[in-house]
């Protein structure tokens, strides 16, 4: 790493350290408000109290896609500008995105059981989220499998960008595929027709979860930068055994 390269991560570190407490506080506040609003929200006339699952399910589902978008931007940063921060952003977003996707899947199936009578259905949306989850896991496996981080970053970037094209295609193809075999009996609720009593808690929760992602991501990026410094120093130590002793 050259001096100019180090400069940016260093500036990022100091910036992160300054804004992280504020971000964390804002996240906690919004999530608390959101939790209160969702606890006091009325029951849906059709779904009863289970509508409460929506307030956590939908933000997680949105974030699962949003995080892939963040990774795609970072991937461009890796490939086009070769910015070391982009590598770090890519790597640290993957596990967080996988966690959100996992939550979307689990809360979805927990909602599906009372609503549809089954935890799992090979429905278009569900299936494409499952594939998204698998792709997150594949990406994480890739990061773990390669010990040279810049090499892993470049491979992961190519895969992330190809995945960004592929996921909408999967969504669309699965949509089509489903109409083949199953009657469209799946319960759906249009976002636009949502009552204000549900809409406001949902939006508050969504913003809260987005802030949560930002907080976690910045903190994880800070850890990763430190980890790379440790690595560099260890390598220095290994290459000069006498100087270190």
């Amino acid at each position: 790493m050259t001096l100019t390269d180090l400069a940016n991560p260093s500036r990022f570190l100091s910036l992160a350290t300054r804004i992280l407490p504020w971000l964390a506080a804002a996240t906690a506040l919004l999530l608390a408000i959101g939790l209160y609003l969702s606890a006091t929200a009325p029951d849906d006339y059709q779904q009863g109290a289970t509508v409460k699952i929506m307030f956590i399910h939908v933000p997680n589902a949105w974030l699962s896609m949003f995080v892939w978008g963040v990774m795609s931007v970072a991937a461009l940063g890796t490939l086009v500008w070769r910015h070391p921060l982009a590598d770090v952003a890519q790597k640290t977003a993957a596990p967080i995105g996988a966690a959100f996707t996992f939550l979307a899947l689990v809360t979805g199936s927990l909602w599906g059981r009372p609503m549809w009578g089954t935890y799992w259905q090979w429905d278009a949306r569900l299936t494409s989220v499952l594939i998204l989850f698998l792709m997150y896991l594949g990406l994480m496996a890739l990061w773990r499998a390669v010990d040279d981080p810049s090499r892993a970053a470049r491979a992961a970037a190519v895969l992330t960008l190809v995945g960004a094209i592929n996921i909408p295609i999967i969504k669309f193809s699965v949509d089509w595929w489903n109409t083949l075999h199953q009657p469209a009996s799946v319960f759906r609720m249009g976002g636009s027709t949502l009552d204000r009593a549900f809409l406001i808690p949902l939006l508050v929760m969504a913003v809260g979860f987005t802030l949560l992602f930002l907080t976690l991501h910045i903190a994880a990026m800070r850890n990763e930068i430190l980890r790379r410094r440790v690595r560099t120093l260890q390598m220095l130590q290994a290459s000069k055994p006498r100087a270190a002793a």
């Binding site: 050259t2 040279d148 690595r231 560099t232 390598m235 290459s239």
Partner: protein, 200 residues
């Protein structure tokens, strides 16, 4: 024609191999890169061939064809010999000739110069170590390129093969080509030496 590198820095796997290296090779000149194992000779050749990303500095070829990059005007002869065992000797050579844009009439001439004409029809899998090396040398002859980057080119060659190769290099230099060769043995042609230091 002149090949120059300035302030070169090489990193492999996040470790610095060398930095601040300068070199210059003029047309008709051979430079022998020497140094202990692990000094970075192979890395320098691969940087020049564009097969490794520069971590700093610049390499330029003056006086070559202006619309071609340096790697496109260079031959790189490495440890791995770019041969397919399943193809015959002549199939291997004429593939590179077609792919790199050489003159198809040269194939059999190149094979006879390196002394492989009698095995031209055999699959490359059955070649001995020296015969494989001779076949990769034939690629240098079959496709004309001014810059030759050679990594221990004479290893595995017998005495006669080394003489032949010296003659081939002399011919290339006489035709205005230039050679940058990493080597532990003497190079058998008049050459300046570029000595690289030992590293961790």
């Amino acid at each position: 024609m002149k090949l120059t590198g300035r302030g070169l820095r090489c990193e492999r796997g996040q470790r610095e191999v060398f930095s601040g290296l300068d070199f210059m090779v003029a047309a008709g000149e051979a430079v022998a890169v020497t140094g202990p194992n692990g000094a970075g000779k192979t890395s320098l050749l691969r940087l020049t061939a564009g097969l490794l990303a520069l971590a700093g500095g610049s390499i330029a070829l003056e006086g070559g064809e202006p619309d071609l990059t340096l790697p496109e005007q260079a031959h790189y002869l490495g440890h791995r010999d770019a041969l397919k065992p399943a193809l015959s000797v002549s199939e291997n050579l004429s593939f590179w000739q077609d792919f790199l844009g050489g003159d198809a009439a040269e194939t059999s001439h190149a094979l006879s110069v390196v002394g492989l004409d009698h095995v031209a029809h055999l699959p490359a899998a059955v070649l001995s170590a020296g015969q494989r090396r001779r076949l990769s040398v034939a690629r240098l002859l079959a496709v004309k390129r001014p810059v030759w980057l050679l990594d221990e080119p004479t290893s595995a060659l017998d005495t006669e093969g080394q003489n032949t190769f010296a003659a081939i290099m002399t011919g290339h230099l006489a035709g205005g080509g230039l050679i940058l060769a990493a080597t532990h043995a003497p190079l058998d042609v008049a050459a300046r030496e570029l000595r690289m230091g030992a590293v961790g």
